[in-house]
């Protein structure tokens, strides 16, 4: 198991290197530069700026310098927000995005799992149709529609919750729910599918033949196998939660890393783009690994194959 984890972590290095390389050259090849918009900067100032940001060195030199920086945790200065370095900005903004993602995932699991289990225990009845209709709604109503609609209803019309912000608990309710809704929907569908599959297995019949109550059959024997698809989905879901937060952070004016990334992209803030991409990618890789470990903990057969 430990060996499996170490091996996986070792594969992170080439993947992250590839990501840095692709991002670096994509950003540099693109037409336009970070200082295009600054009107009529004197030639001398521009040259100084470029020198300050190491933009006058040959491209390969810049690339190697950047790589060297990454290894020591230095992601360079921000082009557009020079008050802090990129690393400092990330340390400042990342916790907000992570907090948002955690709440959203928690909401998604708390709604999605019970809904899916309920639906699967009595398929093709109202107990199945009602939660699954909501799930379909969650999938078909994009979060950038759902968010504003919720704001319209709960903030503007009813006045129960604040419109934007990320300081008080009340401010965190709408964004977390908006981000989590679609994942609740997917988790509900996956749980239902997984549970239906498992509940048709022979070992469930064995459990019933032992005289276990239906609740015990579902929870003790059905749940583990039924949740495997959900666990497998958690990796991609966390990636989605992080990138999905771009929109949510924009709608609710949340000072997170997602908004920082989108702003950086629009502003061609090279170092900021690369820094945020690197951190987000690393995060997704780690979370995928966590999902795989969870899967191994739940399924002894997977655990065997890891040895």
């Amino acid at each position: 198991m430990i060996r499996f984890i170490l091996k996986r972590i070792a594969t992170f290095i080439p993947v992250l290197l590839a990501i840095i390389t692709i991002t670096f050259f994509m950003v540099r090849i693109a037409p336009g530069g970070p200082f295009d918009e600054e009107r009529k900067v004197p030639e001398e100032t521009l040259r100084q700026l470029q020198k300050a940001y190491n933009l006058d060195a040959p491209l390969y030199r810049q690339y190697l310098d950047y790589l060297g920086g990454v290894v020591t945790g230095d992601l360079g200065p921000s082009f557009k927000k020079p008050s802090r370095t990129v690393s400092e900005w990330i340390v400042l903004k990342l916790p907000v995005s992570l907090e948002l993602g955690c709440y959203a995932l928690l909401i998604a699991l708390c709604i999605g799992l019970p809904a899916g289990i309920l639906a699967a225990t009595r398929p093709n009845t109202m107990q199945d149709y009602v939660p699954m209709s909501f799930a379909m709604g969650g999938i078909c109503i994009p979060n950038f529609v759902l968010g504003p609609l919720l704001v319209l209803v709960f903030s503007l019309w009813l006045g129960w919750l604040p419109v934007t912000g990320w300081n008080t608990p009340a401010e965190k309710i709408l964004p977390s729910f908006t981000l989590g809704a679609v994942y609740a929907a997917y988790i509900a569908r996956l749980t239902r599918g997984g549970m239906l599959e498992v509940m048709g297995q022979d070992y469930i019949r064995t459990a019933r033949a032992k005289g276990l109550s239906e609740t015990a059959v579902v929870l003790r024997h059905g749940l583990r196998g039924g949740l495997l698809p959900v666990i497998a989905y958690l990796g991609p879901a966390t990636a989605g939660l992080l990138t999905g937060s771009f929109v949510i952070e924009k709608i609710f004016l949340i000072p997170g890393l997602g908004r920082e990334f989108v702003d950086a992209a629009f502003n061609r803030d090279y170092t900021m783009i690369m820094g945020t991409v690197l951190v987000l990618a690393a995060l997704v890789l780690v979370l995928n690994l966590v999902a795989d470990i969870l899967q191994a903990l739940l399924d002894p057969r997977v655990r065997m194959s890891m040895k």
Binding site: D202, Y203, T206, A209, G211, S213, G225, R301
Partner: protein
Amino acid sequence: MSLLEVTNLRTAFHTRDGVVRAVNGVSYTVAPSETLGIVGESGSGKSVSQYSLLGLLPTPPAKVESGTALFEGTDLLQASPAELRKIRGGRISMIFQDPMTALNPFMRVGKQLMEPLRLHSDVPKGKAREEAAKALKDVGIQDGEAALDRYPHEFSGGMRQRIMIAMALITRPALLIADEPTTALDVTVQAQILALIKQRQEELGMAVVMITHDLGVIAATCDRVLVMYGGQIVESATRPDLFRSPAHPYTHALMASMPAMHHEGEELYTIPGLPPDMTRPLPGCAFATRCAHAEEACHTTAPALQEYAPDHGTACLRIQSGSLTVAGLNSELHA
């Protein structure tokens, strides 16, 4: 005094393609500590007739439409789900066809073994573990203590079936229903498992209902036999009677198609035609369309199981009327 007395059991499946009458008026008894074999093709209703008793069929689509099943003073078919759960796994246990899928792959063997014990008696956990290890030893798994902490996929098919048997018998049931317990196993293991069931049966003094499509299994284990076809019992007899003088053309055809009944190089006999369409029951005998001895009456009059000799029942109209003798039916079988 019989242990289990089933009368006029009818079970149907309500599917999109119509109503499947899987078990169509079946009556039989099981005496304490005897082995009753139920033999028939797949779809003959032999498994459904047992699953109906324990409420193990998915409802819907399945529905027990009539009948009584008295077991130790309780009518299983009228019992509440909670009452039935107490009997299931406690007084009546089951083992299934495929040991590769019948054990929960996510749960350690020990935990699965202790589950029925903890459910049906208030044995403390430590004691339950001891009993589980002993149960494994009783089915021939020597290192029972270590096996408790392993997962099902770490065992072979035969070993898993032993675990299944240990699990079924850990509550010392009065009745074990074995649903094709050897079908999925290697030939070499089959005999071992049958011998094990027999041995444990004698040690515990329980009755066994052995569901199988294999007359060889019947010959090796059973005291009495029911032959099922099209959801009905077409013949009931003691094992020696059944093999010596089968009294229904279907039983006869079954035996004629056994490889052991053939000389070397002789072509295997197969029963012509297809099993009956259970959604459209025929007015007469279900076997009539495939029967070499069928007369006009067989296609129009539904037969009932009747004793034509002591302890030997048949649902064949022609045997009952005497127009076909058992000896005549079997003339070529022993030739």
